[in-house]
Amino acid sequence: MTVTLCCCFPRLLAADMIEMTTTEIRPDELRAKLFDAGAGAYCGFEGWIRNVNEGHEVLRLEYEAYEPLALTEGEKILAEARERFPHLQAYCVHRTGMLEIGECAVWVGVSAPHRDEAFQACRYIIDQLKVRLPIWKKEHYVDGHSGWVNCERCASSAASLRA
């Protein structure tokens, strides 16, 4: 019995659209999920850990997620994107755990017939993921302090520690 490898990917099922991972995100492998003979445009977004945020030197970032709801909320966002742009293929992966400078925390890939839809859908998905998924990040600073991003109280207490 032989196994035939086929380069034609079926339309992705809803359940395949979003993943959480604790290991390295590989955009080069993930992008292949979006191949489609009818797609003329691919837009990919990656969020990278950078060495500075709001003027503070960052050493690394720690991501925490509540996975069951991150997945269902992510599926909703992708479904919304597909409703707006019917011929879309979209996939995303978010990483959790401790990440070093330069590592990829989130990847969103979209393929579509034309580039306008690909760009718009990719932008919509990452914008929504950032504000709706139950994911938190703690910045570890070069000066030894740390703080949860977007928390007013922790931001002000981190500032007072620094002052």
């Binding site: 509540y66 909320e73 938190w136 928390c151």
Partner: protein, 80 residues
Amino acid sequence: MKTLTVRYFAMFREHAGLDEETLSLEAETAADVFQATRARHGSAEPSGHCKVAINDEMADWDSPVNDGDTVLLFPPVAGG
């Protein structure tokens, strides 16, 4: 009185010093639960940018809580 399981995430977990606890509360809504845990653990984050889920469904602050529910308290999210 209702028996509720409250789960804390990220900053809230650090403030509470625990992942979850079971509380007996006079609470009608998710907001009541949030208020009670704030008083209990000294957290002062305003609810405006926080989110709440009940039994693994996203909810609103005025969503009712029932005896036996699990209430998940999410501090301001920051994905990506």
